[in-house]
Every structure is written in structure tokens, then in C-alpha cells.
């Protein structure tokens, strides 16, 4: 079993009003040094191992998990710790 983490971020140039609001709140708290905040998301999957695991995860990202029009993604795979 693999633990798959998919980090999804907005593409450069895509406006992120949520990030902007976070940046302004950080400034309000006195963290003036924050020049930009951008919000993404992280999706964790537990995936059975197979010969095409990486290709299939890429497919999952392109078809559903991320929207290539507005988002980039990065995938990391690690051994899942069996509980």
C-alpha cells in the first residue's frame, strides 16, 4: 500500500482572492513581511501498489483531482504505515 499525497496549487497568473485575504489578515496581525499568500489543497490517497501506479495517479490528477486549466499539482508517494 502506498500513501499518495497530491499537492494542488493555483497556476501562476490565476487570481487567488482567498490568498489575498489571508495576506491582508496577516498584515493586520503585524506580519508585514508577508508579500504573498496563495491557497492550494492537499489530497491524501491510500493506493494499492501496482505496476502502473504512477501513471494511474497522474491520470487521476488530470481527470479529476486537479483542473489543468487553473491548477498545477505535485505527487509524492511514500510507504503507507499499516495500522
Amino acid at each position: 500500500m502506498k500513501k499518495v499525497k497530491v499537492h494542488i496549487t493555483l497556476k501562476e497568473g490565476v487570481l487567488d482572492p482567498q490568498g489575498k485575504a489571508i495576506q491582508q489578515s496577516l498584515h493586520a496581525l503585524g506580519y508585514e513581511e508577508v508579500e504573498e499568500a496563495r491557497v492550494g489543497k492537499m489530497i491524501e490517497l491510500q493506493v494499492e501498489e501496482g505496476p502502473h501506479i504512477e501513471a494511474r495517479i497522474k491520470e487521476m490528477c488530470d481527470k479529476l483531482l486537479a483542473n489543468p486549466v487553473i491548477e498545477n499539482y505535485q505527487v509524492t508517494l511514500e510507504e503507507a504505515v499499516q495500522s
Binding site: L15, A21, K63, L64, N67, V69, I70
Partner: protein, 227 residues
């Protein structure tokens, strides 16, 4: 001409849409549940607004993976009309039936009010009853209506006259003030404002009515006149 209105879990404008075509226009229409819908015998597909699947992951993303959207793709490929309003528009971009994506409104707020739109293209099957450049009033009701596409796609939209409606006072930050676009073939229209909520003066505007009237008129011209 027979209309299908498709309801997903979380749709909330399905009955307004059904009522606009069935009651106000007196057209033949059915309200279909997405799981059991068979679109074979329908001429036009209407994807209503709402919050399908609670807007999980991205607006429209989960609905786009449903079987009924595979049917909608086949229907669209035959050149038959598909209209997506609000969440319906979001589902159409997520299904790649229309280019681009809908982002959070620039001011992060859900907005619900009347907007003034300009009819940019009155040569589509959805808009022939309007004049080019005419201003109309339709309500908006969305939190994620900020249309975005890359520069190359935008140039294509402009070049092929795919921008159908624009906002006069852009409420959500959408690129080029876009409120609604059609696909290159002109048979799939997606728009954030709600024509189905503006079909009687009592509702504050009847400007949405002509969109459905255009569709019925042009369908008759194409299919009935030649039959």
C-alpha cells in the same frame, strides 16, 4: 421540441428551469434525476444551477464525472443544444464541453442581484431574438462565477465570436467581463446569470424569456421546416 432538465444532488434551480420552459413557454419538458436519465429522446439539455455535490473538490467537478454527462457529451457532439446556467456552466467547463474555468468571485462574496448584460453575439441558436449590443437584465446568484482562461483561449473566444454575454459592471472579476460563452460549434452555451429566473415581469425582468424562445424558434427552423 423536447427539453430535459437534469437534476443532480444539490441542484436547486432545476424547478425554476423546468417551470420556465414547461409552464411559461408551454414547451414539452421533463425534469430528470441524473442517475436514471436517458437523454435519447430529448432535443435540448438544460443543466440548472445549484451546488451539485456541495461544490466538493471544485464546483461542477464531481457532476462532470457522472454517466449523464457522458450522454450530454454525445448529445452535444451531434450539434444539439445544451444550456448550462450557473452551476450548469461550471459543470460544462469541468466536462471540457466549454473552455476555461470558473473561479471564486474576486471579492470572495456570494452575490445575488440583478445585473445588466450586453448581448455580444445574437447569431447563436440561443440569442437570435435579441439585438446585437442590446442590454438586458438578468439576476446572478453565485460565489464562483469569475470566468478565467489563458490568453490563447481568450483570443480564440474573441476570434470565433464565442463570447455571447458580457457584464456591464463586472461583479466577479471575470476576464473580458465574460458572463456567458458558447463552444466553437455554437450549440453549447454556458452562462452565470439566470435566464430562467427572468421569464416574467413579476420576477423583475422577462429578458431571459427570449433565450428560450430563440432556441425553440431556431430548432423549428432547422428540424421542422426541413422535415
Amino acid at each position: 421540441m423536447k427539453f430535459a432538465v437534469i437534476a443532480f444532488p444539490g441542484s436547486n434551480c432545476d424547478r425554476d428551469m423546468y417551470r420556465a420552459v414547461a409552464n411559461v413557454l408551454g414547451a414539452d419538458a421533463d425534469l430528470l434525476w441524473y442517475e436514471t436519465a436517458n437523454l435519447d429522446n430529448y432535443d435540448a439539455i438544460l443543466l440548472p444551477g445549484g451546488f451539485s455535490y456541495g461544490d466538493y473538490l471544485r464546483t461542477g467537478a464531481i457532476a462532470a464525472t457522472s454517466n449523464v454527462m457522458q450522454q450530454v457529451k454525445k448529445h452535444a457532439a451531434k450539434g444539439k443544444p445544451v444550456l448550462g446556467v450557473c452551476n450548469g456552466f461550471q459543470i460544462l467547463t469541468e466536462s471540457e464541453l466549454l473552455p476555461g474555468a470558473l473561479l471564486r468571485n474576486k471579492n470572495l462574496s456570494f452575490m445575488c442581484h440583478q445585473e445588466v448584460l450586453t448581448v455580444k453575439n445574437n447569431q447563436t441558436m440561443f440569442t437570435t431574438a435579441y439585438n446585437e449590443g442590446e442590454t438586458i437584465q438578468l439576476p446572478i446568484a453565485h460565489g464562483e462565477g469569475n470566468y478565467y482562461c489563458d490568453e490563447a483561449t481568450l483570443q480564440e473566444l474573441i476570434e470565433h465570436k464565442q463570447i455571447v454575454f458580457t457584464y456591464q459592471n463586472n461583479p466577479n472579476g471575470s476576464i473580458e467581463n465574460i458572463a456567458g460563452i458558447v463552444n466553437r460549434e455554437g450549440n453549447v452555451l454556458g452562462m452565470m446569470p439566470h435566464p430562467e429566473r427572468a421569464v416574467e415581469q413579476l420576477l423583475g425582468s422577462a429578458d431571459g424569456l427570449r433565450l428560450f424562445q430563440s432556441l425553440i424558434h431556431n430548432w423549428r427552423e432547422t428540424y421542422v421546416a426541413n422535415a
